[in-house]
C-alpha cells in the first residue's frame, strides 16, 4: 500500500502537468505550466502537421511549405543587395540603354533577374535533403547491434569504447559511416550533420548563410544555378553600367538645373552599382568557378575541404562517387532525378505515429524493453474493445474527451534522455573534454563557410577534422562566437519525457490495460 501511495505522490505531479496541456483542464492547474510552443507562430493549439513537431532548428512558413534555417538575417541582406542593384539598373540605366542601344538589354536583364530570384527562392525555401531522425525502435535496434559489436570486439585490455563507425566498401574505396548521436542513425555516405540547423543532411555541401539554408542533395542544383546566373547578371549589369557611363560622358549637357541634378543622381546610383557589382563579380564568379570544379569532379564542399579524395592522402585515394567523365558528373548533378523530401513536413500528425527520437524517452537503462513497450503502445493494431464497457464508466469523470496526440512535447529539445544526456550540458557553453569530444566531432565536421563569398572560400573555414583534434582544440577550433551562441538549446519548459513516461516502473500487462483505458475514454 505504501508503495502505491509513494507512486501516487510521484505521479500526481505528473498528472497535473499532463492535464495542463489539454483544453478542458481545470483552470488552477493551467496556470502552473505554460502551454508548449514548438515553433514560432504556433500558439496553444494541438499540432496538426508534422512541421510543427519538427525536431531540427528550422523555421517554417506558409503552413510548412517554406523552410529555412534559423538565422535568416544574411538572406535578407542578399535579397536587398540584389533587389537594390537591379532596381537601380532598371530605373536609371535601362531607359538610356534601351533608347540608345537596343531594348534587348533590359529584356535580357529582366529574364536574368527573374531566373536569379527564382533559383534563390528555390534554394532557400526547399528542404536540402534532411534525414528524419530515427524512431525509438530503430534507435534501440541500432544500440543493440552496436552493443553486440562492442561485446565481441572488446578484448580485456580495452578501456575506451571504440567510436561508433561502420566501414563500407564503395567502388573499391573504404568509406567510414559515422553514427550521429543527435539523430541516432548511421549517416549515409556523404551525409553530414549541420550544427546550425541541427539536422543530418544528405550529400551535405555546406550551410550557406547568404541563402539562409543548408545546401544539400535536393537544393544543390538550385544553389549552383543561382550563383551561376547571379554571376552572369552581375557581369551584365557591371558591363552595361560602365557602357552607360562611357556613352553618357560624351554627350553631357548641363543646360538646366534639373538635368544637372538628375545627372548627379544617376552618377551616384551608377557608382553604387559599380561598387556592388565589382565586389560581387570577384566573389560570386570565383564561387561559381569553384562549384563548377566540384560538380565536374562530383565532390561536395565538405569533401573538398577535408581532402577526402585528394591524392595527397594516398596514391590509391580516388573519389568513388565520380562517374568517370566530366559530362556525366555535370549531368548527374544538375539534370539528375530530384529526390522527394523525406521529412514530409505538411503531413498530418496521426496519433498512432511513432515519435522521433527527440520527442521520446531515451533512458539508457530501459533500452529495448522500453521501446518494445513503446511500440506496443504506439501500434495502431492494438484494440481492447472488450474492456470498453467495464472501464468507460470508471474513467469518464477523470479523463477529458479530447484525443491526446502522441507527440505533444516541444520538438526542439533534442538532447533529452540517457544516451544523449551528455549533449545537453555541453551545448550552451564551451565544452569540456570528456565525452563531449564526440559531440563536437559530429558538429565540427560541418563546413559552414560564413565568409566564403568574400574570402578564399576553400581555404578559410572553421572546420576541424575529428581525427586531428585533441581534446582541448575544439574550443579554439570554433572561433566564431556566433557558432557557440547558436548551439544553445532552450531548456524544456515542461518536465522531460522521462518523468512523464516511465514504462520501466510499470509492468507490461498493466501498461496494456491502462493504455486501453486512455483510448477508450476518448471514444
Amino acid at each position: 500500500m505504501s508503495q502505491l501511495q509513494h507512486a501516487a505522490l510521484d505521479q500526481q505531479g505528473q498528472y497535473n502537468q499532463i492535464c495542463t496541456r489539454s483544453s478542458s483542464c481545470p483552470p488552477p492547474a493551467e496556470d502552473s505550466e505554460p502551454p508548449p510552443c514548438p515553433c514560432p507562430g504556433h500558439r496553444s493549439r494541438t499540432p496538426r502537421r508534422k512541421w510543427q513537431m519538427f525536431p531540427g532548428r528550422n523555421r517554417f512558413y506558409c503552413d510548412g511549405r517554406i523552410m529555412m534555417a534559423r538565422q535568416t538575417g544574411v538572406f535578407y541582406l542578399t535579397l536587398v543587395l540584389i533587389l537594390l542593384t537591379c532596381g537601380l539598373f532598371f530605373t536609371f540605366d535601362c531607359p538610356f540603354l534601351a533608347s540608345n542601344l537596343t531594348p534587348a538589354i533590359p529584356a535580357i536583364g529582366g529574364v536574368l533577374f527573374v531566373f536569379v530570384m527564382g533559383m534563390l527562392f528555390r534554394a532557400s525555401f526547399s528542404d536540402p535533403g534532411i534525414l528524419p531522425r530515427a524512431t525509438p525502435d530503430e534507435a534501440a535496434d541500432l544500440e543493440q547491434q552496436i552493443g553486440e559489436q562492442r561485446g565481441t570486439g572488446n578484448s580485456a585490455g580495452c578501456s575506451r569504447p571504440p567510436p561508433r563507425t561502420r566501414e563500407v566498401l564503395i567502388n573499391g574505396q573504404t568509406v567510414k559511416l559515422k553514427y550521429c548521436f543527435t539523430c541516432k542513425i548511421f549517416r549515409p555516405p556523404r551525409a553530414s550533420h549541420c550544427s546550425l540547423c541541427d539536422n543530418c543532411v544528405e550529400r551535405f555541401d555546406h550551410h550557406c548563410p547568404w541563402v539562409g539554408n543548408c545546401v544539400g542533395r535536393r537544393n544543390y542544383r538550385f544553389f549552383y544555378l543561382f550563383i551561376l546566373s547571379l554571376s552572369f547578371l552581375t557581369i551584365f549589369i557591371f558591363a552595361f553600367v560602365i557602357t552607360h557611363v562611357i556613352l553618357n560622358t560624351d554627350k553631357s549637357s548641363f543646360s538646366s538645373c534639373f538635368k544637372a541634378l538628375s545627372y548627379s543622381l544617376t552618377l551616384f546610383c551608377t557608382v553604387l552599382e559599380v561598387v556592388v557589382c565589382f565586389f560581387s563579380v570577384w566573389s560570386i564568379v570565383g564561387l561559381s568557378g569553384f562549384h563548377t570544379y566540384l560538380i565536374s569532379s562530383n565532390q561536395t564542399t565538405n569533401e573538398d575541404i577535408k581532402g577526402s579524395w585528394s591524392t595527397k592522402r594516398g596514391k590509391d585515394n580516388y573519389n568513388p562517387y565520380s562517374y568517370g567523365n566530366i559530362l556525366t558528373n555535370c549531368c548527374a548533378a544538375l539534370c539528375g532525378p530530384l529526390p522527394p523530401s523525406l521529412i514530409d513536413r505538411r503531413g498530418l500528425i496521426r496519433s498512432d505515429m511513432p515519435q522521433t527520437i527527440s520527442q521520446s524517452n531515451g533512458t539508457s537503462n530501459s533500452n529495448y524493453t522500453s521501446t518494445q513497450l513503446h511500440s506496443h503502445t504506439c501500434d495502431q493494431d492494438q484494440c481492447i474493445q472488450s474492456t470498453k464497457f467495464v472501464l468507460q464508466a470508471a474513467t469518464t469523470p477523470l479523463l477529458h474527451s479530447d484525443p491526446i496526440v502522441l507527440a505533444p512535447l516541444p520538438g526542439k529539445t533534442t538532447t533529452l534522455g540517457g544516451p544523449c544526456a551528455h549533449l545537453a550540458p555541453t551545448q550552451p557553453s564551451l565544452p569540456s573534454c570528456s565525452g563531449d569530444v564526440l559531440t563536437l566531432r559530429d558538429t565540427a565536421v560541418d563546413s559552414h563557410c560564413h565568409h566564403h563569398l568574400y574570402l578564399h572560400h576553400h581555404h578559410h573555414h572553421h572546420f576541424v577534422s575529428p581525427e586531428e583534434t585533441p581534446c582541448i582544440t575544439p574550443q579554439g577550433a570554433l572561433p566564431c562566437p556566433n557558432h557557440l551562441h547558436l548551439h544553445h538549446q532552450p531548456h524544456p519548459p515542461v518536465p522531460s519525457p522521462a518523468a512523464l513516461y516511465n514504462p520501466a516502473s510499470q509492468d507490461t500487462l498493466h501498461e496494456d490495460s491502462v493504455r486501453g483505458l486512455v483510448k477508450l475514454s476518448s471514444v
Binding site: D141, V168, C331, P337, L338, Q372, S513
Partner: protein, 166 residues
C-alpha cells in the same frame, strides 16, 4: 471497426485512482487481447553501390520461423530494383531535368517527378505484398519512405490462437 490507440505516456497520468481498478481487469484483458506487436526487425541500407537507395538482402534470423528466405529476398530485391529505377540516370531523367530547368522548375507544379511516380508504384507494391504474403504470416512491411528511406521496418505480430490478424 478498429479503434486506434490515442496516447501512450498518458497512461502514467491515470495512476493512483485507476491502478487498483485496472489491476483487476488486466487478467481479463490478457485473454481478450488481439495480436500484439512482438518485435520489429529493421533491414538496413546497403551502401556498397554508393549512395543509391538499396537495402540489404540478408535474411534476418527473427523471420526464419515466419517466412521463406526466398520470398523475403524477392521482395527486397524488387524494392531495390524499383528504387534503382527511380534514381536511374538516363535520357528520360535528363530530359525531365532540362525541361524543368528551362521552365524554372515551375513545371513541377503541374506534373510530378519521375521519382514520385516510382514511389507511388513502390507504395502499391508494398501494400500488395502485405495483403498477399506478409499479413497472413503475421508480419507487416512498412514503406521505407515513412522511415526516411533508412530502413525497411518489418513488424512481427505475436502468434495468438484467438486473434486472427486485423
Amino acid at each position: 471497426m478498429q479503434e486506434k490507440l490515442q496516447c501512450s505516456f498518458c497512461s502514467t497520468a491515470l495512476s493512483f485512482p485507476l491502478q487498483t481498478a485496472t489491476r483487476f481487469l488486466t487478467h481479463s484483458l490478457q485473454d481478450l487481447q488481439q495480436p500484439a506487436v512482438s518485435s520489429k526487425v529493421f533491414i538496413q541500407r546497403d551502401y556498397s553501390s554508393g549512395t543509391i537507395c538499396k537495402f540489404q538482402t540478408k535474411f534476418p534470423s527473427e523471420l526464419e520461423s515466419r517466412i521463406d528466405k526466398q520470398q523475403f529476398e524477392e521482395t527486397i530485391q524488387t524494392l531495390n530494383n524499383l528504387y534503382a529505377e527511380a534514381e536511374k540516370l538516363g535520357g528520360k531523367s535528363y530530359l525531365e531535368g532540362c525541361l524543368a530547368c528551362l521552365t524554372a522548375y515551375t513545371i513541377f507544379l503541374c506534373m510530378e517527378t519521375h521519382y514520385e511516380k516510382v514511389l507511388k508504384k513502390i507504395a502499391r507494391y508494398i501494400k500488395d505484398q502485405n495483403e498477399k504474403i506478409y499479413a497472413p504470416r503475421g508480419l507487416l512491411l512498412t514503406d521505407p519512405i515513412e522511415r526516411g528511406l533508412r530502413v525497411v521496418e518489418i513488424t512481427i505480430f505475436e502468434d495468438r490462437s484467438i486473434g486472427s490478424g486485423r
